[in-house]
């Protein structure tokens, strides 16, 4: 019986841990898409953030790693913004190219740094920070109150993002740019500048997401390690209806779906592990089918602002 409770507590803790990078990336993408820009390059930003975190952390500790990841993610997003927002090029293709380039760049830098064998890195990671008393709560304590600081940050970001989007002038301008670039411009919003900032902020958060993957979850870097988490984050934005709170729920759901495989591995069932590898992607597809139709994307999502 206690075994069952321990297993469940471990599962919940793992679910939150796995959900953290998804939540960070999806919150960033929410900001970007609310401004009318769909950025498939966040997969690349995440990957770049992961490597930057590994290098930064081994050079100067976890905090340097986080800072490096933030910068790496934002830089790639800035390149994306240059092509898609300023030149008005196709956002999907530009984002795909950014991700492709990030795969090449991280692979090359990683091999140049650590050799083709890619010897297992051991890097300083982020230790869980326990909230006194609360962390002792049975079942939920470990999941909610004994997580790395990045998790608390990611959760705190949810109401902050909601506040920004729906209660500030800047957020209103951003949403206007996403709903109708022409209308927003007529109302005096500088659409390109607004969208660029949103995209860069989204990229920075994606970079941070990659950092948490390395510093708080896996503990090392490997090539292509993000494995589509950026794309899942984009699906999470749709499932969360472009709303920070909805995104939080959807991210936790995916964290739980992914963490299921740990439980099954621990319980030693004969189900092939690859089926659990598939699960998050399949759930994302099913979720998309169920969500779309009941939700509405920002109207000008994916459309470049026309030159005036």
């Amino acid at each position: 019986m206690t075994d069952g409770i321990e297993l469940l507590a471990g599962f919940l803790a793992a679910a939150v841990r796995v959900a953290t990078p998804l939540l960070l990336a999806a919150t960033g993408e929410t900001i970007s898409e609310r401004g009318g820009v769909i950025n498939l390059g966040i997969e690349g930003s995440m990957l770049a953030g992961a490597l930057a975190a590994a290098i930064g952390s081994s050079a100067g500790g976890p905090w340097s790693g986080l800072a490096a990841a933030l910068i790496a993610g934002a830089t790639l997003a800035a390149v994306f913004a240059l092509v898609s927002v300023h030149a008005g090029a196709d956002q999907i293709i530009a984002g795909t190219a950014i991700t492709l380039g990030a795969v090449g760049l991280t692979g090359a830098v990683y091999r140049a740094y650590y050799g083709t064998a890619g010897a297992g890195l051991s890097i300083p990671t982020l230790a869980p920070v326990e909230v006194p008393v609360l962390a002792e709560i049975p079942l939920l304590g470990a999941a909610l109150f004994a997580q790395p600081l990045t998790t608390y940050f990611a959760v705190a970001l949810v109401p902050a993002t909601w506040w920004y989007l729906f209660r500030t002038r800047g957020g209103l301008a951003l949403r206007a740019a996403g709903e109708s670039a022409d209308g927003a411009r007529a109302a005096g919003v500088r659409v390109r500048a607004t969208r660029t900032l949103a995209v860069v902020a989204g990229g920075a958060l994606a970079g941070l997401a990659g950092a948490t993957l390395v510093l708080a979850q896996v503990g090392t870097f490997s090539e292509r390690m993000t494995a589509g988490r950026g794309f899942i984050a984009i699906a999470i934005v749709v499932l969360g209806r472009w709303h920070p709170g909805g995104v939080l729920v959807a991210a936790l759901f995916f964290g739980a779906a992914t963490a299921l495989q740990f439980v099954f591995q621990a319980s030693g069932t004969a189900v092939p592990y690859q089926l659990f590898l598939m699960l998050p992607y399949v759930l994302a597809l099913l979720g998309l089918a169920g969500a779309v139709g009941r939700v509405r994307a920002p109207r000008d999502l994916g459309r470049p602002e026309r030159a005036s």
């Binding site: 498939l40 196709d90 090359a108 590898l277």
Partner: protein, 348 residues
Amino acid sequence: MNARPGRGRVVAPLLIVAASLAGLAGVLAIAGYDPVLALGALWRGSLGSFDAFASGTLVRATPLILIALGFALALRGGMLNIGAEGQFLAGAMAAAWLGVHLAGWPSLLAIPATWVVAFAAGLIWVVVPVVLRVRYGVLEVISTLLLNFVAEALVSFMVQGPLQERSGIYPQSDPIADAARLPLLPGTRLHLGIVLAILLAAALWFYFSRTLGGFRLLAVGTGPRAAAITGRIDVTRTAALALLVSGGIAGLAGAAEVGGVAYALYPNLSPGYGFTAIAVALLARLHPGAIIVTGVLFGALETGAGAMQRDAGIPAVIVYVVEAVIILALLLADARRTARSPAVAGAA
């Protein structure tokens, strides 16, 4: 994206490729490598000898050309198929599954049979995105991308489960029967797949430029509303069909790779063909004939990168950066020329 190739449309891609390679040399020099040695290895390993050209470049170009043709077909209809990686794997799985069982068949039957099942498998892999797009409005971009990872996991499952080789040690399938292997050009590793790619390019060229169906597809891709208003074009059906066939073609590329190069199914069969092919198609401006040229170019680039890694110690994955830069530069060059209509935007 579909206008007749004028001089600017040919010159700009050439300039971009040249500039990207020069940029690569510059970056390598800054990073402390010998750029002359690196580019020399790149050249020798790809175009410098007949053997490198036939056994390396053209073999690598074959799946790129095939997938790029499919990508171009779909994009002409306004659909972005960036999940060719998964369709390629679906085709490879089907071809390997059938190929193992074809011992004793005549090649004349065995090879087409693997192609048919691979085409079907690639097509089926796109059925879900098409249904999601048509019935629920899910952007095909996201669904096809997600399915890439499902395909990878499925291959991993297959080669450690139902399709694992007899001894049960290695994560790969049994080798396919001799009958299902593609004939090689004597003295090289160049296989029949390149002929398939060229024939398909010719067929698509004819379809795009000389048939009513090709014209309808173009109409759907460039002006879906105008096409619908004519009342003679079923926009949804046309676009969906283009996406399905493009998946089938990517599956065909998987069959060609299994039948002509790998002779078995194993994980990591594709070093990102599905993404490189996007660069191939865009650089060719979606023109089937030009896709052969750009496919060979990228085949040379990627083969040469392998040589660069061996001879100059430069990680081969750096070519993906070159490819990304080429795509982004093309987008920038195009965006300056025209404010193109966002045919692929919309939907959630």
